[in-house]
């Protein structure tokens, strides 16, 4: 990555957010910031990077935008509205730090606009990656597996709705904050998980962590934002051990020396701070579960009763079948596999098309010695699995069952 690219990534979201505050128009802000980066590409190569590159981009983009406004008809129209929009929506901040300077909250306002629940979920993700992440339209398109032109159209539609419906550029007030923050967090987590599911889109994981970090910096009092960052860090820390030569490695069999200790320490530190605050929520609890796993030197040394207690708590605040499934897996470790079967069967119908339900069921049935039932479960899981490593892993489980059977048949009774 060149110096300009690095600055680009860091400054893009900030610059776009600031320009939107000043001009009240997303498209104008984006165009101006892009122009500024083109100018930067030429100027900086010649003169070197200025001492405050982000500030340079904002100032240059602002001049560009004003030129644009003066030139175009759209501009004259906008210019007339501008005074009203600007002073009505942002009376104090602009004055406080000089209208040119970035205001710390600009990015925060923008993320709440991009993640507004009145927008389609996939549009929220696309806008967040484009406007705050600084990804190009092509890059966003790739992360959605759609063409660049389809993504461009989608972004135009989403920007149109923001403008036409007057989705505000503002951090929501106390009443709306919990649900609106929930939408922001779920967008960031979706970005992370998209990067997790598909190696082609792995860079989205780093993007999601970067955005979560920015969010925590902007809203240091929101425990769930911190919880989400910790959850991502702790999940990320174990990734190097999760596959070996392209094959999936279960937590039980992972080489724990490959786990990233720096990330684990950061994640666990956040979890401890969250616990001290005492306002648990779904992301913090999931992070706490990951923190317990990361604490254990081996699978056997895992504090399973602690994990089960955390899942009990999580299920009470987030009663989804997937949480119930993970809790059942913890029950198998604490109370034995026979105790896990009933809770799994209770959600089997709801999660019938979820391959991990059948994989977990297969593992438990195998431990109970019910080989044929285990085989059926693994075969169903293999039919449903979406990725090649998952299918290979499940095929291996089925093979191993065969070996067990062969072993038993050859053993004299």
């Amino acid at each position: 990555m060149s110096a300009v690219e690095r600055v680009f990534r860091e400054a893009y979201g900030q610059a776009v957010a600031t320009l939107i505050r000043i001009f009240g128009d997303i498209a104008l802000a984006e165009d101006a910031v892009q122009d500024a980066f083109v100018v930067a590409g030429e100027r900086w190569r010649r003169d070197g990077i200025p001492p405050n590159p982000a500030g340079w981009i904002v100032t240059t983009a602002r001049h560009r935008a004003i030129d644009d406004l003066r030139r175009s008809a759209r501009g004259r129209e906008l210019h007339e509205q501008l005074g009203a929009v600007d002073t009505a929506s942002q009376p104090s901040d602009a004055g406080a730090s000089g209208e040119d300077g970035p205001v710390k909250d600009d990015r925060l306002r923008l993320i709440f606009t991009c993640c507004h629940p009145a927008l389609k979920r996939e549009d929220r993700v696309a806008l967040t990656l484009r406007l705050l992440g600084g990804l190009s339209v092509e890059e966003v398109a790739r992360s959605f597996l759609v063409s660049g032109s389809a993504m461009a159209k989608r972004l135009v539609r989403a920007r149109y709705k923001i403008k036409a419906a007057k989705i505000p550029y503002r951090v929501p007030g106390e009443t709306d904050l919990p649900s609106r923050l929930g939408s922001v967090l779920s967008v960031l987590y979706l970005i992370y998980n998209t990067g997790l599911d598909d190696p082609e889109r792995a860079s989205l994981r780093g993007e999601a962590i970067r955005l979560a970090r920015a969010l925590v910096e902007l809203m240091p009092d929101e425990s769930e934002a911190a919880g989400l960052l910790a959850l991502m860090l702790l999940s990320e820390s174990r990734l190097p051990a999760r596959t070996a030569e392209g094959d999936l490695v279960l937590l039980r069999d992972q080489d724990r020396t490959k786990w990233d200790r720096t990330m684990i320490e950061e994640g666990q530190g956040i979890v401890r701070a969250c616990i001290r605050r005492g306002r648990p929520g779904p992301y913090q609890l999931q992070a706490a579960i990951q923190a317990v796993h990361c604490d254990a030197e081996s699978f056997e040394a895992t504090d399973w009763p602690q994990i089960l207690a955390l899942y009990d708590h999580l299920l009470s605040v987030m009663p989804t079948p997937v949480v119930a499934l993970n809790r059942a897996i913890a029950i198998a470790e604490v109370d034995g596999p026979d105790r896990a079967l009933t809770p799994i069967d209770a959600i089997a119908k709801e999660l019938d098309t979820y391959h991990l339900l059948h994989a977990a069921r297969g593992t438990i049935l195998r431990r109970l010695g019910r080989r044929q039932d285990a085989r059926d479960a693994f075969e169903r899981a293999a039919q449903l699995a979406a990725t090649e490593p998952d299918r290979r892993f499940l095929a291996r489980q089925i093979e191993m069952l065969g070996e067990d059977e062969a072993h038993i048949r050859s053993t004299p009774r």
Partner: protein, 123 residues
């Protein structure tokens, strides 16, 4: 200040969840009157109303020589607008906050849609 249309729909001639018994009707009316009082007191209320069903509608369209009249509705659909409010609101969040109050009062879904322009067309 922007204006928004808050509309509710009937599905195949029925408004889902509409009050049936007299006491339900009374409670419904009380909620709606309280809501509209609040809308009026805050300068939010512009206009509102409940519509007759699509069977009562007539469609007019320009023909070659004359305007042609046919029995409505304009679109044969399962859903038709049953009633609406037009409100003043600062932005979408403000409009949605009123939308929530409307849903609480009438207890069926509504659509919130911004006006592109209101009032008389300026030449």
């Amino acid at each position: 200040m922007a204006q928004y249309l808050l509309s509710t729909f009937e599905v195949q001639g029925e408004v889902p969840g509409a009050p049936q018994r007299p006491e339900e009707m009374k409670a419904f009316m009380e909620r709606v009157v309280a809501l509209e009082d609040e809308m009026e007191a805050t300068g939010t209320f512009v206009f509102g109303g409940a519509l007759h069903g699509p069977d009562a509608s007539t469609v007019l369209r320009a023909g070659d020589r004359d305007v042609i009249m046919t029995d409505g509705p304009f679109v044969e659909a399962k859903e038709h607008i049953a009633g609406f409010y037009i409100i003043n609101a600062e932005d979408l969040d403000a409009a949605l906050a009123w939308g929530r109050k409307v849903v609480d009062a009438i207890r069926h879904p509504i659509e919130v849609r911004p006006f592109r322009a209101t009032g008389r067309v300026q030449a």
